[in-house]
């Protein structure tokens, strides 16, 4: 299985059948999906986190209750079920009648998944900002949501940046199950090579290395960001 001949044979096929193209478009699809998921997750996460930390004025307590209830339900369901179940649900039920590029559907699904986890990060980030910031904003006449948007979130965001990049890395890995609903990401590219060539070790090694390169690249980016943050302007 590890023999020189099988290796040569595999890599000949690799070139001949243009598997590098399969792999490349797998990388593209993985990254596209991850990027879409990150953006959607971030948006959902911010909304959910704000709902979770907000105290509504007395008149709107009923709305607060409803929104907090929905946020809790969302977070509980997402954190209580596997990503692949969620993806299947969204793909096969929610978006059943919609024709959409698969990476987009995957991105949306994983974004919805990721939102629940990002909400937690963002909530912690917001609650980590000194209470005095909210007070200073409010005392200047800014509304609660203006203060959130202009003062709290930007600060929380900077502090959370490394954690968010790390969530991006988690998503790169999580999206590897998209093949289960027909996606054509890196993992699936590996599967295709396996099916076609009957060789396991080389496709899996290629896939492993591809993921390692991607995740460690983004880990490095995260480190750089962390360093910048530490000696940043504030």
């Amino acid at each position: 299985m590890f023999s020189y001949e099988t290796m040569i044979a595999f890599f000949n096929t690799f070139i001949e059948r243009k598997y590098y193209m399969t792999l490349l478009s797998g990388i593209q699809e993985t990254l596209l999906m991850t990027a879409i998921a990150t953006v959607i997750g971030l948006i959902i996460g911010i909304f959910v986190a704000i709902i979770q930390v907000s105290e509504f004025p007395r008149k709107l307590k009923w709305l607060e209750k409803i929104l907090k209830g929905i946020a809790k339900l969302y977070v509980d369901i997402i954190r209580g079920t596997p990503a692949i179940v969620q993806v299947s649900f969204i793909w096969l039920v929610v978006l059943a009648d919609v024709v959409m590029a698969r990476p987009v559907v995957g991105g949306i699904s994983f974004g919805i998944n990721s939102g629940a986890y990002m909400a937690e990060l963002i909530r912690a980030g917001i609650q980590g900002i000194d209470k005095g910031q909210m007070e200073a904003g409010r005392s200047l006449g800014l509304s609660y949501f203006q203060t959130m948007k202009l003062i709290i979130i930007p600060q929380a965001f900077r502090q959370m940046l490394p954690a968010l990049v790390s969530e991006f890395i988690v998503l790169i890995k999580e999206t590897a199950v998209i093949g289960m609903i027909g996606g054509r990401d890196i993992m699936r590219a590996g599967n295709i090579m396996m099916s076609d060539t009957g060789s396991f070790i080389w496709p899996i090694l290629i896939v492993t290395i591809t993921y390692l390169v991607l995740t460690s690249t983004f880990t490095m980016i995260m480190r750089v960001i962390e360093k910048r943050m530490n000696k940043g302007r504030f």
């Binding site: 059948r17 243009k18 598997y19 193209m21 399969t22 478009s25 096969l92 978006l95 059943a96 009648d97 919609v98 024709v99 959409m100 698969r102 987009v104 289960m180 609903i181 027909g182 054509r184 599967n191 295709i192 396996m194 099916s195 076609d196 060539t197 009957g198 396991f200």
Partner: protein, 232 residues
């Protein structure tokens, strides 16, 4: 997201079923894809191919996610309750794949109490999963894979004892693996057809017409020649 536009027709398939459909480079190609292209062309529409797990195809066409299924799908009573099948366009059969040195398995009855791999939701799966031995009432231990190739892979590793697959893909896949062979014993004969949503007679009739057309004008034979190296 964009809803389906008028001039696109969506074909659902599972691209792990060579030579009917498989992925080469970035493209899904194969016998079914070519036939579907012709259908789309004759209907004046652009073909869009949706690749998904085989076991999700019926649901996908039933829910309207795809317009029709072309996936080397065998006509079957149970399935016919959920979708409408076109006229048959290919005659196939199920075959048993075993290790080259295995002389113990020669017919379906020999699969009893063995670990047998199938592709989830295929005819082979339905047959093997429902199989009960006439002699001793024994059943087959079924392992359902997403892809036929993975089943053959495990067979070649010795993790399972046999695989039941459709004949043509079995031939293609077996060629990729060392030490496995197809048993030439007769097994279930079956027919492939396209599937549309239940009650979509308009599309069904169009498809049947086109299938008849290409069989008459030789296009079909050319495709067979291209993919199977033989004519029906």
């Amino acid at each position: 997201g964009c809803s389906k536009s008028e001039d696109v027709i969506v074909m659902g398939t599972n691209a792990t079923f060579p030579p009917f459909e498989e992925i080469q480079g970035n493209e899904i190609v194969g016998f079914d894809v070519d036939i579907s292209k012709i259908i789309a062309e004759k209907l004046g529409k652009t073909l869009k191919v949706e690749d998904m797990e085989f076991n999700q195809l019926l649901g996908a066409v039933a829910s309207g996610k795809v317009d029709f299924v072309a996936a080397g799908m065998t006509v079957d009573e149970e399935r016919a309750k959920q979708v409408d099948f076109s006229d048959n366009y290919f005659a196939s059969k199920q075959v048993i794949i075993v290790k080259e040195d295995n002389d113990n398995i020669v017919e379906a009855e020999d699969l009893v109490d063995k670990k047998v791999g199938v592709q989830l939701g295929t005819t082979g799966d339905i047959f093997v999963s429902g199989y009960t031995s006439e002699e001793n009432g024994g059943t087959i231990e079924v392992i359902q894979f997403d892809k036929g190739a993975l089943a053959v892979a495990e067979l070649s590793l010795g993790k399972i004892d046999a695989v039941v697959l459709d004949e043509e893909p079995a031939k293609k896949i077996v060629a990729n693996y060392e030490g496995v062979k197809i048993i030439e014993a007769p097994f279930i004969n079956e027919n492939y057809a396209l599937a549309v949503k239940k009650g979509n007679t308009e599309l069904l009739e169009d498809i049947n017409e086109i299938l008849a057309e290409i069989q008459a004008d030789g296009t079909y034979d050319a495709l067979c020649e291209k993919y199977f190296g033989k004519t029906e």
